[in-house]
């Protein structure tokens, strides 16, 4: 049985191993590893603007990560947050476009609600398929991501294309009333950041205080005991998929109403998938998710910085995120299991 302390120690350990491997990787590519790591992990945090960017990127990651972590606790594997985010963006963007030139202070809240509802609806599909037909939600939610992305593509290249946009596949820019206000002068940090913090707090309350949080935990740990206690597994599946879908949808709405300000064919650099790493790196705990979201946000910023300073391809972000998940899973495995050298089998 792995100790609690070891389980908490693995994420920092995985981060350390990632940094070390990153140094080796940079050295192999012919860069000074110290300078490259500084560019990747330190430089982005040295300016106010950089810190604001960190918050901008951590916002969707934390928000989605909280929802996913709750589901993962109950063994509900929503892999399709990217799709739910996309649908949230579509709904929020659709509302912004529908009321273009006819807006008021009610528009932004409506977009947020619409975005959450869109993500929630997208999460409801795998919930229904799982509870009705026992279809694996990993597959259905993932496949629905591609549907959502294609739907967005269709909309921005077709009906919702900016009439004055020189045929670029983009919607028109939203009106000011449809944009989240900046809360830190000189940065892009917007009202979404406190919303994400609110989601973290709400997630913590659900996990630590509520009965539904307890039920999720029991269903995840021991489904048979949950059946014994009279907890409905179907209810947990619905709750977690709707919640994580809704939060991802809200994150999508925040993205289009925040840093992007219009609908584009691609509105997320894979936040929905990165949030899976965030959830695990944060040990499925809301506070851990918040810290992990900041770290993963940094990996996006570092990738951009490395691109600017060192001329590395942006793929370096994916490499770092992948290594982090790999080392985390490997450390977890080795915490739970011990390797033994087996004597060669006697003839």
């Amino acid at each position: 049985m792995a100790s609690h302390a070891m389980l908490l120690a693995t994420p920092p350990l995985a981060v350390l191993l990632t940094v070390l491997s990153g140094a080796v990787l940079f050295a192999a590519l012919g860069f000074d590893p110290i300078a490259a790591l500084t560019a990747y992990f330190i430089t982005p945090l040295t300016t106010t603007y950089g810190l604001g960017e960190l918050a901008v990127k951590a916002t969707p990651l934390a928000m989605i990560g909280i929802g996913l972590a709750l589901g993962f606790r109950g063994n509900v594997w929503n892999i399709g947050a990217e799709g739910q985010l996309t649908l949230g963006a579509i709904c929020a963007g659709g509302i912004a476009l529908a009321f273009y030139g006819d807006e008021g202070p009610w528009l932004l809240p409506l977009m947020m609600v619409g975005g959450a509802a869109g993500g929630l609806a997208w999460g409801a599909v795998p919930a229904f398929l799982r509870t009705r037909f026992n279809a694996n939600e990993i597959l259905t939610s993932l496949m629905l991501s591609y549907v959502a992305t294609l739907l967005l593509s269709y909309l921005v290249t077709g009906p919702w294309k900016d009439p004055d946009g020189f045929n670029f596949p983009e919607s028109r820019l939203f009106d000011d009333q449809a944009l989240l206000p900046i809360i830190l002068e000189g940065t892009r940090m917007h009202l979404g950041a406190p919303l994400a913090l609110l989601a973290v707090v709400a997630g913590w309350v659900i996990v630590a205080r509520t009965f539904i949080g307890f039920q999720i935990k029991v269903v995840g740990l021991t489904p048979i005991a949950a059946g014994y206690a009279g907890f409905s597994q179907a209810r947990i599946i619905w709750f977690t998929l709707l919640l994580s879908g809704g939060l991802a949808g809200l994150a999508g709405a925040i993205e289009v109403a925040g840093p992007i300000g219009q609908l584009q064919p691609s509105i997320s650099p894979g936040y929905g998938f990165t949030a899976i790493i965030v959830a695990f790196l944060g040990r499925l705990h809301p506070v851990g998710v918040l810290l992990a979201a900041l770290l993963m946000a940094l990996s996006y910023l570092g990738g951009e910085q490395a691109q600017i300073e060192l001329g590395l391809p942006l793929a370096v972000t994916g490499v770092f995120q992948g290594m982090l998940l790999f080392f985390l899973l490997a450390s977890d495995f080795l915490v739970h299991y011990r390797l033994r050298r087996l004597a060669p089998a006697a003839a």
């Binding site: 049985m1 205080r209 509520t210 009965f211 539904i212 307890f214 935990k217 029991v218 740990l221 021991t222 048979i224 005991a225 059946g227 014994y228 206690a229 009279g230 907890f231 409905s232 089998a345 006697a346 003839a347």
Partner: protein
């Protein structure tokens, strides 16, 4: 190797074995001497240190002190494979067999040196099973085998290594009386060949019948070595738990006048998994204040019946299960709990409790409704800790407190916790599977008293158990389940243990034809399960 050691050195001599775990001295300078050809009982309550001692002998656990002599020579047992190489075999209480494989395939998987030719191995299995009266078809698939037959597979697997010491861990806990008698025959034959058998059990009758010597452990120390055949069950129990324990016995006075509490009528249903036993036309009825005992060998549909009663599986019809006049066959576990039906499942970890959660959380698991631990969706963890602490206190659960993780408790203590948790919710109907499984004699008596008190308070109780002594001690009426059918229930004082044993083997008619003339023979047995 068997019968090889003819010199005067004992087969196995343990001297001053010490094993310390955090906070407890599991073995405190234990001496144990096993001679060739004897059947030696190791007797003790839960937590007395029996398992630790056996694990040291079998090389699973390293002792902190003491010496082991094997046929006179000092040894260090490095691990189970070393133990087997020395000639020490062990048959575990819980079988490690693959259900979908055949007997010979299962045996092949357990052999150290590689199986070699399967046909030759099958012939060896047939040979060994014939020699020791262990009827077994090498080509049978394990899921078709009864529990007794499965145990034979384990014994044969052990015998193929030609051990000179065989450790049996509570071998009869899963057997019918007839199967147990057959097992004893086999064990006597093995002993007559000069093999030594170390027999671990709580069942005092068995030990008195079978064993020539007994070493009794209490709190990690040897308190006595005696000849059990000249002791009484009472005196052995006294040695084992340190105080004289009188048998709890339910008076023959049946609380006959109670109104009907629950009725099951024509219940036929499939098991939850394809290898489970389906139910055929089960009917039963329990009055208020009555205890119904359901006997049967494991795997005869008990699990399906228990799920159907608890609501974890829904019945095909609402009126298949009627509780206080209401058809509840289509109600789930939650709704039935709210009606006052409580349930103690057979599996403690993973069904009745969540292994990784604290006792406090496990109190919340089943008690959230009746103890009102949830208000407006928020859990009162303070209250659930209090409830857990109350259970721990009231049922003397050995645990560090309500924050102890369920997994950290011994099986018997977790059983006490689960039983206590359900009883303290003041159920109107309690359904308990093996209520004292793995619990020591003192605690078993306390659990029995609590169940009787519950019934005397007007609740109905259904007990499903293989322990006939327990069923006869507690039950007003007894029924037997076999191959998914439930016999008519009969007043416990009209049925003999032999009748029930026959019915457990499926011979309903034989037992009924024989009639229940003799009163149940349970007087001086102690319920040490």
């Amino acid at each position: 190797m068997s019968g090889g050691s003819t010199d005067t050195a004992p087969r196995l001599a343990l001297r001053g074995m010490v094993k310390r775990y955090p906070g407890v001295l599991a073995n405190d300078h234990v001496d144990l001497t096993l001679e060739a050809g004897e059947i030696h009982a190791l007797l003790g309550e839960n937590g007395a240190g029996k398992s630790t001692l056996v694990q040291i002998v079998y090389g699973v656990v390293k002792a902190d002190g003491g010496s082991i002599r094997w046929n006179g020579a000092p040894v260090n047992v490095d691990g189970p494979s070393h133990a087997r190489a020395l000639g020490i075999g062990m048959v575990f209480q819980h079988f490690s067999l693959f259900e979908t494989l055949t007997v010979v395939e299962n045996v092949a998987l357990g052999l150290e040196t590689g199986a070699g030719d399967m046909a030759a191995l099958a012939a060896r299995i047939a040979d060994v099973s014939k020699r020791y009266g262990l009827t077994l078809d090498p080509q049978a698939r394990v899921f078709d085998l009864s529990v007794g037959e499965r145990q034979r597979v384990e014994i044969v697997r052990c015998l193929l290594q030609d051990p000179s010491l065989i450790i049996m861990d509570e071998p009869t806990s899963v057997l019918t009386p007839q199967e147990a008698d057959q097992l004893f025959e086999t064990l006597r034959r093995l002993a007559s060949e000069g093999r030594t058998i170390l027999y671990i059990s709580h069942k005092l009758d068995e030990i008195r019948r079978l064993c020539s010597r007994a070493t009794i452990l209490r709190a990690g120390q040897v308190v006595a070595t005696c000849d059990p055949s000249v002791e009484t069950a009472q005196s052995l129990a006294g040695l084992m738990i340190g105080v004289e324990v009188g048998p709890t016995r339910r008076g023959a006075s049946v609380a006959g006048g109670g109104a009907e509490l629950v009725r099951v009528e024509g219940l036929s249903m499939q098991a939850a998994n394809p290898l489970g036993t389906p139910l055929h036309d089960v009917r039963l009825s329990v009055k208020k204040g009555e205890i119904l005992g359901i006997a049967g060998v494991a795997g005869n549909g008990q699990n399906t019946l228990l799920s159907a009663l608890s609501g974890e599986m829904l019945s095909p019809r609402a009126d298949a299960v009627v509780f206080e006049g209401q058809p509840i066959g289509l109600e789930g576990a939650r709704a039935r709990r709210e009606r006052g039906i409580n349930f103690v499942p057979e599996d403690r970890l993973g069904h009745g409790a969540v292994a990784d959660l604290s006792l406090s959380d496990n109190a919340l698991l089943s008690g959230w409704g009746r103890w009102s631990l949830v208000r407006r969706g928020l859990v009162s963890f303070k209250k659930s800790r209090e409830k857990a602490a109350h259970v721990v206190d009231k049922f003397s659960v050995a645990a560090s407190g309500p924050d102890a993780v369920a997994r950290s408790l011994s099986g018997g203590n977790l059983q006490k916790f689960i039983i206590g948790r359900e009883i303290l919710q003041a159920p109107r109907l309690l359904i308990a599977a093996h209520p004292t499984w793995g619990v020591d004699a003192g605690a078993a008596a306390a659990i029995h008293q609590a169940l009787i008190a519950l019934a005397e308070g007007g609740a109905g109780v259904i007990i499903v158990s293989q322990d006939l002594d327990e069923l006869f001690t507690l039950s007003d009426r007894v029924a037997v389940i076999c191959a998914g059918r439930l016999s008519e229930s009969r007043p416990a004082h009209e049925v003999t243990a032999e009748d029930v044993g026959l019915m457990m083997g499926g011979l309903f008619d034989a037992a009924i034809a024989k009639g229940g003339s003799a009163p149940a023979e349970t007087g001086d047995t102690l319920h040490g399960q």
